[in-house]
Amino acid sequence: MPFFEAIRLALQQIWVQKLKSFFTLLGVMIGVTFLIAVVSIVGGMSAYMTDQVVGKIMAVNSFELRHRPNIQLGDHSEERRRELNRRPRIRETDVAPVAVALPEGVKYAVVGQDNLTAQSRYVARPKNLLIFTVSEDYFDIKKMAPARGRLFSPQEFERGMEVIVIGQDVADFFFPSLDPVGRELTIRGIPYLVVGVMEKQGSAFGISFDKFVIAPHKSPLNRFVNVHGVIDAIMIQTPSREGMLAAMESVRQVMRARHHLRPNQKDDFELETSDSALEFWNKIKGYLVIAGVALPAIGLVVGAIVIMNIMLVAVAERTREIGIRKSLGAKRRDIMSQFLVESATLSTIGAALGVATGFAFAKVIAFVTPLPAAVELWSVLVGISIGAGVGILAGVYPASRASRLDPITALRAE
């Protein structure tokens, strides 16, 4: 029997018993729903971690020289923690040797960061803010632009003047319904002139990226942020990804020499890239994907058993039909393929419905949570082919029983 004919017949059979067919394919449908939903959510979280979390903190093709990692996902062992605490800080005096070692065209910025309390005359309550002191290339590297006002001028950088740019949340908090540009914010007793409000940076896991104050590196704030000539990071950005690895190696050599490390000693500083920040996430993602495959697998096994049972019932119910077909010249192969195609079609429909509900599920999650759920094409294809495969596997035994029926006995059935 031609394949197309068999499919048509299968669909007809499924349509005749809509409700029964639906319950039959429910197991496969649920399995595939979970597969699609989990893969979409993991995919969405992955995109979220890469673009929203790490991407907001780290700039493109950039790495940061720090004494220990900045982005900390997950726990460390006691040993690791002690090792991190023993590390020497990166100092102001490291900047020049590192800068000299960098190839042509590479940008760098000195970054200091700390939490300090700020106050404005418009709001009674003081507030703790994340304060950065940065050198000139910082805004360029981070691709940050002001929404209102301006960035610092070279003179302001050079002379370390009392000017700041602030994040959107800071503006909303300290200058309610006022234009912050041209007004002052007092930090540790010194008033700073707000020259710009930066574009909104967004948030991750409900933590806003807009609660910051940025001042020039040499401004008076530096004394509070970078105590005793210590700096938090040197941010380095290369024009290309390949250049980044070379630049990282140069910086590593300079820092090892400056820290007098012997060849058998490990680095006592961190060269943090977005990849290294994502390392922990990738580990979690691995477990999630395993769970995301294992749970649907249970659904699919149950689905397969249900389909096998229903197909066995179908063979018993349709014994006479099998007898008629055999008397008219159907070979074993014809009967076998008829039932195989039927169970494969049934379960493929289940898988397709599962893809649809999984997709809907992912959309609901994307709507309710900040996670963007991304339905990936490969999971749709895998879901549907698994569905077809389950149907064929579950159909083999019932179909071969049907094909081996004796035509005389089958014709006498009922």
């Binding site: 031609p2 055999k326 010249g329 159907a330 070979k331």
Partner: protein, 269 residues
């Protein structure tokens, strides 16, 4: 009544005897069915039932034969063997010049598809398929492409005067119409023999007559028809009557002598 089959010699004539005795050799091309000493035994829970105990039968092309016998005489078993639904334990069965008694299941399926058209007592139509689709089925298994299949199925339905009702399902048709659909299905692949098993068993006498007229006209057109029945007045429509008793051929007569013997009225055809 124009065919010469009516005039052909019947019973175990010398000619038939010769055909039946030529064990291992293919009969001439005029012989559609030749069985030589066919035996069929069943094991019914330790007890051996000998349904056929050596049936010799030779049927020529264009014959219209009724196989009769009381229940338990082996006529159903013989019909299954002739219809290639069953294989004998011993003996030879030649269908259309090929020995089919030693064929595999799939080879038998092919023979059923090409050589045999079944008409059953209970019609055996697929209940959810239209008349047209039911008639198409043998062509599906013969691998005929869809367009030609439809055309030939329509032709076959028109031959049994059902051209108007081909989109109806079996439950929308009367018993006689269902049996005519079954006949159309049996004929659609131009089989060597039309094999009917109690074709009027589920029909009232008027409808039975109607079906018998269809068989008669098919036989007139040259179709070989073999009909298994236990009703003498149905068997009386055939031109040759083979009677089985206890798994053996008890008599093999021309219709006229059969009718005379039983003293039943000659059917009005």
């Amino acid at each position: 009544m124009s065919t010469q089959t009516v005039e052909a010699p019947l019973g175990m004539t010398a000619e038939r005897q010769a055909v039946v005795e030529g064990a291992g050799t293919a009969p001439g091309k005029d012989w559609v069915i030749v069985t030589r000493g066919i035996k069929r035994e069943y094991d019914m829970g330790g007890e051996i039932v000998r349904a056929l105990r050596g049936v010799d039968l030779a049927i020529m092309r264009n014959e219209y034969v009724a196989i009769m016998g009381p229940s338990g005489s082996g006529k159903s078993t013989l019909m299954n063997v002739i219809g290639c639904l069953d294989t004998p334990n011993a003996g030879e069965y030649w269908l259309n010049g090929t020995q089919v008694s030693k064929m595999s299941d799939d080879q038998l399926a092919r023979v059923r598809n090409k050589e045999i058209g079944f008409v059953f007592q209970t019609f055996n139509l697929l209940p959810r398929a239209t008349a047209l689709h039911n008639v198409e089925l043998p062509l599906v298994y013969a691998g005929v492409p869809s367009v030609e299949r439809k055309r030939r199925a329509k032709e076959a339905l028109e031959r049994v005067q059902l051209g108007e009702r081909m989109d109806h399902r079996p439950n929308e048709l009367s018993g006689g119409q269902r049996q005519r659909v079954a006949i159309a299905r049996a004929l659609v692949n131009n089989p060597s023999i039309l094999l009917a098993d109690e074709p009027t068993g589920n029909l009232d006498s008027n409808t039975s007559e109607e079906i018998m007229r269809v068989f008669e006209s098919l036989a007139d057109q040259g179709q070989t028809v073999i009909m298994v029945t236990h009703e003498p007045d149905i068997a009386a429509h055939a031109r040759r009557v083979v009677v089985l008793r206890d798994g053996l051929v008890a008599s093999d007569d021309r219709r006229s002598s059969f009718v005379e013997k039983l003293g039943i009225a000659t059917p009005q055809l």
